[in-house]
Symmetry: C2
Subunit: 353 residues, 2 copies
């Protein structure tokens, strides 16, 4: 059986790795990123993955090959980068766009080149969507780059038309769009929920799914997947246990309120099942194992759930033991078939180039 | 079998009904409420409940008795008032507090007096919690007033210590605290999710549950139910299909992050199952009826789900047909036993006085 991992966090050991690619006007600034205010008291990284030279876990790409890809016999591993980069929460969109470009250069030169099994999520600055579309057309033809990353928090929801140039470019370049927690509640982004700013990391982390509900509602109801029927969206690290209630609720509301969204030709869950994938980590752990299988059935996980380890983060899931037991057909779909479709991958990585 | 309805929206036919109770300094202002920006294109009210004189549905209390209580043989019906009142989204907390007082006077004089089966949710202004606590002690001894209403949207989450005087007073007066959608995204409240302001009512309405997730996370993790172990909280009109994933996720995070919330003596779901109740409307409708029963089991609905009609709103649930079929024991719990416990009610309304 093949195995794909949708969420591997590589990082640079030193800021110079990124700054070298910045234009002269920003080189003296270095990397300015919003401080991460919600902190895990135990740290975010698995301390058994510190590199031999003492580098932070994820900063030695060769170590990721050995300790993760080789160890678990992973066929493809998707790099998602550093959450604290927070490109959506920076006030200066030109600077954010240049940071994104520098990240993409580093990703290609120093990360993807290490092993052909690595895939890349290129960065763009969400507040500069037209420039982001240019970046997508510039970097998106690299054979290992298979998706474009957006942060979960934002100023305005991702269904709004100003973002559509990103979706047009991603569809054209055959790249997925991914959303990963980055900026929620930090920098220029909104409070994480309508309730306001949480007090602690346990609150912040518990509520990750709510940003995704907001973004997914916006993208589906505004008609992104009608305008771009081949666009593929991956929601990473937002959980999936909320999907049954969410799809039922959105479909029910569509029955009563479809006059507000006349462009939707089918019920909302149709677009979710056709155009959206959900990464498994962090798994919500039911009281009874059978309840997990019930949730998988309710959400049509055989079509839309993909395995993610979140390596090397504190709450990452081991490819062998992270997921509760599933039936064989479901397991094949979740562990590789669905992700192969999401990123349009050949069975053999050597066929990528 | 008894029947309790947790959400009946009565309203005044004319603003004068409220303004007469305002202090002189605000009488000329009348009722200033944030405009409801998210609108149902079909209206919010069932048009077959317009009163004989042409009054809006819910404005004729005697008609609620006949068309709802008598028709469905309801033993107790909880008045929740007018959502657009939006006391949490007003900038002037003194004015908001006086509006709350005026509402409470009207509620007692003109609504609860009509039928002893009616129960009342008194209002307070969330930005004036100390004055709100005074209102709770002033009006909370009325035998039909059984809970205190908070709006779902807020400036800061309801777990914060500034709100605790409200909880202290409610516990002392043996009243439940209720949250109902009011101000989310309107007036001075936050955007409804970390994604920003939705575009349309279908989005806004779909995301109602996310405010409740934010508020419930805050109240549980900040230790409200440790400090006030007898406090009872009702979450109305936020749905319940999200509870399984939510309790699993919060419990899982507590296992890894309990050092942040050392005051929690038990896992978070313990407090939810002991101190919190969830009103049924609007029901998320599963694809298969059996899935609804699975959700009920996962969320321990036999302890915490209560029936609500949301009369006379557009998407209200009929007491006979609103809920999918349940087993007898579950049905008794949901249709009356759980709400009797929430509001500490005698079996016979005449024993209330």
């Amino acid at each position: 059986m093949m195995l794909l991992d949708a969420d591997i966090h590589q990082r640079w050991a030193d800021d110079k790795a990124i700054v070298q690619y910045l234009p002269e006007r920003y080189k003296d600034d270095g990397i300015v990123a919003p401080e991460l205010l919600y902190r895990n008291p135990g740290g975010f990284l698995k301390q058994d993955e510190v590199s031999e030279g003492g580098g932070k876990p994820g900063s030695d790409t060769q170590k990721i090959v050995e300790d993760h890809l080789d160890k678990h016999d992973i066929d493809y591993g998707m790099f998602t980068g550093n959450s604290w980069f927070n490109l959506g929460a920076l006030p200066n969109r030109d600077y954010a766009n240049e940071l994104a470009r520098a990240y993409n250069e580093w990703l290609i030169d120093e990360c993807l080149s290490v092993d052909e099994r690595f895939l890349g999520s290129m960065y763009i600055a969400p507040k500069a969507p037209k420039k982001g579309a240019e970046l997508i057309r510039e970097y998106g033809s690299h054979p290992q780059i298979r998706q474009v990353m957006l942060p979960g928090g934002a100023e305005v929801p991702y269904g709004r038309p100003q973002y559509w140039p990103l979706y047009e470019a991603a569809e054209e370049m055959n790249l997925a769009i991914a959303i990963h927690p980055f900026s929620e509640g930090h920098g220029t982004s909104n409070p994480p929920t309508g309730a306001g700013h949480p007090n602690s990391y346990i609150e912040w982390h518990t509520l990750l799914g709510t940003y995704y509900m907001g973004q997914l509602t916006s993208m589906v109801t505004e008609g992104v997947f009608v305008e771009y029927p081949d666009l593929r969206l991956a929601l990473i690290e937002g959980g999936y246990g909320w999907l049954p209630h969410f799809m039922w609720r959105l479909d029910k509301n569509w029955k009563g309120l479809r006059s507000q969204v006349p462009w939707l030709e089918k019920k909302p869950s149709h677009y979710i099942r056709k155009n959206v994938w959900f990464a498994s980590q962090p798994i919500e752990e039911p009281e009874e194992p059978e309840q997990h299988n019930q949730i998988l059935d309710m959400m049509h996980a055989d079509e839309i759930l993909i395995f993610a380890s979140d390596y090397p983060h504190w709450d990452g899931d081991d490819p062998m033991w992270g997921l509760p037991p599933m039936e064989d057909e479901m397991e094949r779909a979740v562990m590789y078939e669905n992700a192969m479709e999401l990123w349009d991958l050949p069975a053999d990585p050597t066929d990528l180039n």
